[in-house]
Symmetry: C2
Subunit: 203 residues, 2 copies
């Protein structure tokens, strides 16, 4: 005979799953991500290591969940902010500024989304790469539109978009790892200028 879960149990399990994800987020986001082991995550979530495997098939699935969640949050903020503007240039600029703001507020997100984690496993790096591809593609769509509107000269928008994202990634990584530039928000303005000129913005 099969027993049905009561609502109470369903709620408890749902809460537990959330606590696991939250614990993982906290650990992945910590400065020293030395022991992002299942044991450590389980401990922080207040469960036994074995229990973890009742909620996730393996570590990879957990990482994917965490990364996707963070990415979704970031994209949500970007979309909201973009809707406040009409011109594609403004939308593009708003996207960058939101990213920087989020990364300043939650360095851990920046670290997790922009860095690649060999500690985890090569397979996971593909997940991060996909996100980066996604970001680049978003920029490319904006650039295509700008090109159509004749607001930037004819160019390989795919390469330009990659370059564009590359400038941000490199500067943010430097900020994360070296603490330079000290003021990332100020640097953002420089970067916007750099990229607008780079794109050949006709003003």
């Amino acid at each position: 005979m099969v027993y049905n879960k009561t609502q109470k149990v369903k709620d408890k399990m749902e809460g537990r799953r959330e606590r696991i994800v939250k614990a993982a987020r906290e650990i992945f986001t910590e400065d020293s991500f030395q022991n992002m082991s299942i044991k450590a995550i389980a401990k922080k979530a207040g469960i036994a290591t074995g229990t973890f495997y009742l909620y996730f098939t393996n570590k990879e699935a957990l990482v994917e969940t965490v990364v996707k969640e963070m990415y979704k949050e970031l994209m949500g903020l970007i979309k909201t902010e973009r809707s406040n503007y009409e011109s594609v240039f403004d939308k593009l600029q708003a996207s960058m500024e939101v990213c920087i703001k989020v990364f300043i507020r939650e360095k851990g997100i920046a670290r997790l989304l922009l860095k690649h984690f060999p500690e985890i496993n090569m397979a996971f790096n593909n997940k991060f790469t996909e996100i980066e591809k996604d970001l680049i593609n978003l920029v490319r769509i904006d650039l295509d539109e700008l090109q159509e509107q004749g607001l930037i000269p004819l160019q390989n928008t795919s390469i330009s978009a990659t370059a564009f994202v590359g400038t941000f990634r490199q500067v943010i990584l430097s900020w994360l790892q070296e603490g330079q530039p000290e003021n990332l928000e100020e640097a953002c303005q420089t970067l916007i200028q750099y990229n607008m000129r780079g794109l050949g913005k006709i003003s």
Copy 2:
């Protein structure tokens, strides 16, 4: 009593060290970066695994040696090429083109310098690899000079140099991982244009 090594033994040991480095280089630059184990390196170098530790204190020291060697070679080529030009713009452009040429010829070097080494190193410290810092600094020096000569507008050359390197890094990584752009040499021209505009080159 202490025995002195004869020249013959010194030579043999020196050669052995070189063979270890060579073997490591071959393995590190292979397509499948999976088994870069000491065992595999020792086997390729024709020595026992224990012997490795008579020549290097640990794996980290070996990786550092290999990376430094590759970097030195790359820098040598860049310096030689730069000496053929007078204008800083031309020197800058020549540097980029040499980098791209080397990376096309030896993908393994690109993979190790741009992707794997930062990953490996991350485990030991969170610092940017010295190499990347070095590259950025080289560009910054060029930019400072250009700025002094009034050939580019006033700007934070540190951030511009970081952005500059970031565009290349991102595009080369995409090329390595996604196979896009297909023609990296062509993309290099686009990137040069992007960055020259980004810097605000006065022409």
